[in-house]
């Protein structure tokens, strides 16, 4: 099984929030969604983008957890808090640079994207990347991601599309908006 990763191409997002709807459908998600879609500038235009857990290689959420409730799966997925360990301190929600972990006050439990571990442990794409109609979210091999990065790599002073990482190395790879600025037109 070739390793695949979640890859985000933020330029493509159409704001349909199908990723949110689909997230509830993964086994073990208790029908709650675990990602976010933002209207970037709602009074001006329709630009939107998903904000996903990037599954950091050295995750701040897990590091900040005093109870070791956040486990890292062998695939690199940073899992949701273990019910029996999570003490509800919410350190992780503050520690994460992107504000990803969500908190259930009733259960006193953190829950977050587990990269649909039920699926991705067997190489099946996560729900959000399966359904995303615009290919903002894709499930690709490292080679495919490398090709994308090369195709869209752009630093023209105005647009920077591919950064090595945002905050430290992540398992999820991202291309920022602006990729089309570097495309050579067919005619």
């Amino acid at each position: 099984m070739t390793k695949k990763r979640l890859y985000l191409e933020l330029e493509n997002c159409i704001g349909c929030r199908s990723c949110l709807a689909a997230c509830t459908q993964c086994g073990g998600h208790e029908e709650r969604n675990r990602n976010y879609v933002y209207d970037v500038n709602p009074l001006v235009n329709r630009q939107t983008m998903p904000l996903m857990c990037l599954h950091c290689v050295n995750p701040a959420c897990a590091r900040s957890c005093p109870a070791q409730a956040i486990q890292i799966h062998e695939t690199g997925a940073v899992l949701s808090a273990l019910v029996e360990k999570c003490i509800g301190c919410q350190n992780c929600t503050i520690a994460c640079p992107y504000g990803i972990p969500k908190f259930d006050t009733e259960q006193n439990l953190m829950y977050k994207c587990d990269l649909c571990i039920d699926r991705t442990k067997d190489g099946i794409p996560p729900m959000c990347a399966s359904v995303c109609p615009s290919n903002t979210l894709q499930w690709l091999t490292d080679e495919e991601i490398e090709n994308k990065k090369q195709q869209f790599n752009l630093d023209n002073g105005k647009w920077v599309t591919s950064l090595p990482y945002l905050e430290g190395e992540t398992n999820v790879k991202v291309n920022l908006p602006g990729i089309l600025q570097g495309v050579t037109k067919l005619f």
């Binding site: 199908s18 001006v44 235009n45 099946i124 359904v131 615009s134 495309v183």
Partner: protein
């Protein structure tokens, strides 16, 4: 078949005690593939799993599709027939009592028979829809004409696809929504998309659309709003609502003037070029700009890109079709492909984004007032004879053509029509000029509504019959490509609900017409009769057996016999369907919208969809995720316009036209023209925007002008002050 670079072999996740039923979404014309997850202990649908093996959508779904399964076992399902004895409660949800099917059938048969005895057969009408299988659509046409013997049958496609149908028939002599398969879309070099908010209305086209740009191709979008697709377009032609024909003529003029006409193609395969060339001469970029409000440079740039593109696809949707010149708009934009010869080959062509799941198939097989199965004409004696042979009636028993959907309400108002059998549609929300339509429904002597939820229209009924959702029956649907696909049954009908074909067959029995229907015991029986009835018509489905559909990942019509694999690309032989084999380039004089802004009503009102809802919202407004994302309608206003009216974001304001009014929250956005406001149409009762829309009908398609009328905004406190005075 047609597996492309987006297709990947992926296993599905299988949970214990679950089976997956392959099917398609219940909603729009994309008909995305999906697997319904069924619990094998309870035999109930419990969720959805992507269908990676469906070549058109490869697992993708919009949020409507992801949550579609929640319709089946929803608390709002009607589980038994409902009867309302107190007619004074019509127009409300009140007064219904549960009844047995026996009692409901008896009552309907008694009423229908009495009324027809007193007022003649044509006092009854059938108003149908196309969010259901071909088999159901087919049988509804037969039910109206054979079981009820009435001429008055029409359907909600008059509010949806009828202009596309009219335009294609005129231009090509055939009405297949797309001349090419969707798997070609991303391989073209230029997409010219007019009046389609593709990202919200047909979201799963978007990965193909964006791929055109990724490859270095171009996207041109004509839309009064900067929709998500317009935002990223290479050229956004931000025209005034209702001015499409001027834009189409203007671009055609530039294509001809700048030498992009394909003379050989035009000479050999088309008629009407010279006349059209003369007519469009007047539409210089400046004049076109004056009419449309689009800057001349943008028009020039768009024409140049489309002209230069080695391959290009012209696409459109309700934005251009829901106008009182919708048919002309369709033929007008289609002219671009015919004049440049960018049609009848892979990666080039013309397509409309079909709105309803079976908007294509449902319009071909006899629910339209003047059509019979296989796209036959009820006015053509030969066609009538062919269908009569299948139905077992004589040609003199075949009713005359009826009238279009909106015109049926006019006949109700004047009591020519006194009874209605409504199914698969919610005109109390989706028809234009709703104050009039709701009054017409309320004034009926007797109305039956077949639906699985109590819709706003069901509130006007005397009897409500519980039907099944799409997941509790099987049959075929024709998607927006013209590909016939199979919907599969995942669960037994909930409560006492029944599929429409069964209800109609049983009701026919009560009406003494059992011999024409009693052999139809399963959906498959209906399918077999339907294929036969379409045989020889130009929408020929005879060869599209369920087996073949399964083996081939769908079958594109026409498909005439066992050995015919179907027709993914139309016109590859450059033969069009007019008698001389040529297509028609149409000379189309420009007409402005029926109602232009003036001093009292200075704004242009346009309507449309949001991604979270489908049609009248009867289904999607009940799904928690979709309702939470968009719980109520809003009016989109440009910040400069809002400032002029002193309106704040999210303030409640009164929007009104000559026909009606409603209160909406303001949504301020720069993504709309300053002279235009937009309201989504999925909402019922006092918030239906169709209370305000105009019923100006296209002369050919009888499509109402939902997309443009004159309106005015007012602060609620001002409106209240006026009332007090």
């Amino acid at each position: 078949m047609q597996r492309d670079k987006f297709f990947k072999e992926i296993e599905n996740v299988r949970h214990p005690n679950e089976t997956l039923v392959k099917t398609h979404c219940s909603y729009c014309g994309m008909q995305c593939g999906m697997n319904l997850r069924v619990n094998t202990l309870t035999n109930k649908i419990i969720g959805v799993e992507p269908r990676y093996d469906w070549p058109v959508t490869v697992g993708k779904m919009c949020p409507k599709g992801v949550t579609a399964y929640q319709q089946t076992n929803h608390d709002d399902r009607i589980l038994k027939p409902l009867i309302r004895d107190d007619a004074s409660l019509k127009g409300t949800k009140e007064g219904f009592r549960e009844a047995s099917w026996e009692e409901a059938y008896d009552l309907i048969a008694k009423k229908f028979t009495e009324m027809q005895k007193q007022y003649g057969n044509d006092t009854l009408s059938v108003f149908s829809g196309v969010s259901m299988t071909n088999e159901k659509c087919y049988l509804t046409g037969k039910f109206a004409r054979v079981a009820l013997g009435t001429r008055y049958i029409d359907y909600n496609g008059r509010f949806c696809m009828s202009s596309a149908a009219g335009g294609f028939l005129r231009s090509f002599g055939v009405d297949r929504g797309s001349t090419l398969p969707w798997t070609d879309i991303h391989e073209t070099d230029c997409l010219f998309i007019a009046g389609s908010n593709t990202a919200e209305c047909h979201p799963t086209s978007m990965f193909r659309v964006w791929n055109v740009q990724e490859r270095g191709g171009y996207i041109i979008v004509a839309d009064p709003r900067e929709t998500p697709i317009a935002r990223r377009a290479d050229v956004h032609l931000d025209l005034k609502p209702g001015t499409d024909l001027a834009l189409a003529n203007g671009i055609l003029n530039l294509l001809i003037q700048n030498g992009y006409a394909d003379e050989e193609f035009v000479n050999q395969h088309t008629n009407g070029f010279e006349e059209t060339k003369e007519l469009v001469k007047e539409f210089t970029p400046e004049y076109t700009s004056e009419l449309t409000g689009v800057a001349p440079e943008k028009i020039i740039k768009a024409a140049e890109i489309y002209g230069k593109a080695p391959n290009a696809v012209v696409m459109f949707a309700r934005g251009i079709e829901q106008q009182h010149k919708g048919v002309d708009n369709v033929s007008g934009y289609t002219n671009m492909a015919l004049v440049t010869g960018k049609i009848g080959r892979p990666k080039s062509g013309v397509a409309t984004f079909t709105g309803q799941g079976n908007g294509q198939g449902g319009r071909e097989h006899g629910q339209k007032s003047d059509l019979l199965p296989g796209y036959r004409k009820i006015t053509n004696p030969e066609h009538v004879k062919e269908v009569c042979q299948v139905w077992g009636i004589t040609p003199d028993e075949m009713p005359e053509p009826g009238v279009s959907a909106y015109e049926m309400f006019e006949l109700m108002e004047e009591k020519t029509i006194r009874g209605l059998y409504l199914l698969c549609s919610n005109p109390a929300v989706s028809a234009p000029n709703l104050n009039f339509v709701r009054k017409a429904l309320k004034g009926l002597d007797f109305m039956v509504c077949a639906d699985f939820y109590l819709s706003e229209s069901a509130e006007f009924a005397d009897v409500v019959l519980p039907t099944v959702t799409w997941s509790e029956d099987e049959g075929t649907v024709t998607n927006l490509e013209g590909r016939i696909i199979k919907i599969n049954k995942a669960q037994e009908p909930l409560g006492e609900s029944k599929p429409d074909w069964q209800i109609q067959a049983e009701l026919a029995e009560r009406l003494g017409k059992g011999k024409y229907f009693s052999h139809l015991k399963t959906a498959k029986d209906v399918a077999d009769e339907f294929r036969l009835a379409s045989k020889g018509g130009y929408a020929d489905y005879y060869g599209a057996t369920w087996d073949k559909i399964d083996k081939q990942d769908g079958v594109f019509w026409p498909c005439k016999d066992e050995n015919d694999q179907g027709t993914p690309h139309m016109f590859l032989d450059k033969k069009f369907y007019h008698p001389d084999g040529k297509a028609k380039i149409c000379a189309l004089p420009y007409r402005p919208p029926a109602e232009e802004p003036d001093e009292k009503f200075p704004l242009r009102l346009t309507t449309g969809r949001v991604v979270y809802h489908y049609l009248s919202g009867n289904q999607t407004r009940r799904i928690p995720f979709l309702r939470d994302m968009c719980p109520e309608p809003f009016v989109e206003v440009h910040p400069e316009t809002a400032a002029k009216y002193k309106m704040e974001h999210e303030e409640r304001v009164r929007l009104f036209t000559r026909r009606g009014e409603a209160i909406y929250k303001v949504k301020i956005t720069e993504a709309i023209r300053k002279d235009t406001v937009f309201v989504p149409y999925h909402f019922g009762h006092e918030q239906s925007i169709n209370l305000l829309t105009i019923a100006a009908l296209d002369p050919i398609s009888r499509m109402p002008e939902f997309k443009a009328c004159a309106a005015q905004l007012e602060k609620v406190e001002n409106a209240e002050m006026k009332k007090v005075q």
